[in-house]
């Protein structure tokens, strides 16, 4: 398992194809679901929304959104019956560059995300297709700048705990997700590459999401603060 995942990760770095046949034939780790069905809230402190585009066909320009919220209706018995709604604050766009030119503000202006008029980008699932143990394609409506198009996210279930390993009376579930959309679908057309030149910023936008969800364990007192977890 470790080796295979390493290969996959390596393939990403190399921008290259790793044919599945070349990967070691080890059985997948068993998927264990410890968390019960129910409504879970996205944990903003353990969630990251990373976005990548290609800049001039050169670097993978990487930024993130800092503020996300959402609700997962998790069905532990039949995960394909689960659903999710999530929202990202477009005003929380955060590029790495801290120099004199304010890219964060630029990318929120009316030519780009128009955060003043459209402060949220949202995703609402419409279908979950389980593709394997611990893996599913989650299709839903992605709304950016008030424009809605379907997108399918490839989602991996990572793990779940109930209760929290530190003994806190909450259940937790963690997922990774990724997807791609065309920004032109949402009217995001600034700096589109001119035909054949591969200049500007790619139309393809990659989403890379890590997300944890929590739910209080029923019939227990409300959890106190968790001093051991600096992030909580």
């Amino acid at each position: 398992m470790t080796a295979r995942l390493a290969l996959a990760a390596t393939a990403f770095v190399l921008a290259a194809c790793t044919p599945p046949a070349s990967e070691p034939e080890t059985p997948p780790a068993p998927v264990v679901v410890n968390a019960p069905s129910g409504e879970y809230a996205l944990d903003p402190n353990h969630t990251s929304v990373t976005v990548r585009v290609s800049h001039f066909g050169l670097s993978h320009y990487t930024l993130r959104f800092n503020t996300a919220s959402g609700t997962l209706n998790f069905n532990a018995e039949d995960p394909a019956q689960s659903s999710i709604e999530a929202s990202v604050a477009t005003t929380s766009l955060d590029t790495p560059y801290g120099g004199p030119r304010d890219f964060d503000a630029e990318l929120q202006n009316s030519e780009w995300l128009d955060s003043a008029s459209f402060p949220a980008a949202t995703f609402r699932s419409t279908a979950v297709e389980q593709t394997g143990p611990g893996a599913a394609n989650v299709t839903g409506d992605l709304t950016i700048r008030g424009v809605t198009h379907p997108i399918t996210l490839a989602v991996t279930y990572n793990a779940s705990h109930s209760p929290h390993p530190m003994g806190v009376q909450i259940s937790l579930i963690g997922f990774s997700a990724r997807g791609t959309f065309n920004r032109s679908d949402y009217g995001l057309n600034v700096l589109q590459p001119t035909a054949g030149a591969n200049d500007g910023v790619s139309n393809d936008v990659e989403l890379i999401i890590e997300a944890e969800f929590t739910r209080p364990i029923e019939n227990t007192p409300a959890p106190a603060n968790t001093p051991a977890e600096p992030v909580n």
């Binding site: 390493a6 770095v13 921008a15 990251s48 143990p133 793990a159 963690g174």
Partner: protein, 228 residues
């Protein structure tokens, strides 16, 4: 099946060349599967993937088009994802024999950037992490390449000295050349690379929060370098 998903993601990214580098260990899974970052966006027209097309000499990292992302597993549930936002890098590029190239980089340890804010809206956790990295006594995290082994036409393993928390140990970056081109706006040649490594942070004496935070830290660098 997970393998199929990974393969599908790779294929969907229209990848072109074959990998050759030895894989680094994946971040420890701690009971959960590790989700790799998606396959890179494919290069297209206007960018040359042939390193020999780029001019030789000194290049400087373009801070406006670079990122240093790091990921560490959190209780098996997710990969906690953060950045360093202040860094600089210099590259001496030999297009005829890229293995003779060299690179140095410096990252400000106190430029840790997470999306976590406390109840007062302060980035206190960023400072906690920086303290864990020994930022006060050792403000810079540095990498100095010592040797480069080519693993393919656009890939290589860059081994060098990584100094973090005041301690120096070897580290190997899996590097990929993403292409080069002359950019009219700048009047300069620009070349781009990504690099990835996984370090065991305890080797550099960084051991905080080990109960729920993995020892392995994946570092993902994506950067453009402008010809001096």
């Amino acid at each position: 099946m997970r393998k199929m998903i990974i393969a599908a993601a790779l294929l969907a990214a229209a990848c072109a060349t074959a990998p050759a580098a030895a894989p680094a260990p994946a971040p420890q899974t701690n009971g959960g599967a590790v989700s790799p970052v998606p396959a890179a966006i494919a290069p297209a027209d206007g960018t040359s993937l042939n390193p020999a097309d780029a001019p030789a000499g000194a290049y400087t990292m373009d801070p406006r088009h670079a990122s240093v992302v790091w990921r560490v597993r959190h209780t098996g549930l997710s990969l906690f994802t953060a950045r360093f936002d202040t860094f600089e890098g210099a590259l001496n590029f030999d297009p005829q024999n890229p293995a003779n190239s060299s690179v140095t980089a410096s990252i400000a340890a106190n430029s840790v950037s997470t999306n976590v804010v406390n109840r007062n809206g302060e980035h206190a956790f960023d400072h906690d992490i920086a303290n864990t990295l020994g930022a006060e006594a050792n403000p810079n995290i540095t990498f100095v390449s010592r040797s480069i082994e080519l693993t393919g036409p656009t890939t290589g393993l860059i081994t060098g000295d990584l100094t973090l928390n005041g301690q120096t140990h070897p580290a190997t970056l899996e590097a990929s050349f993403h292409g080069g081109r002359f950019i009219q706006l700048r009047g300069k040649n620009v070349i781009a690379f990504s690099a990835r490594t996984i370090i065991n942070r305890s080797q550099w004496g960084v051991t905080n929060w080990a109960l729920f935070t993995g020892d392995q830290v994946e570092i993902l660098i994506d950067a453009e370098f402008i010809k001096d």
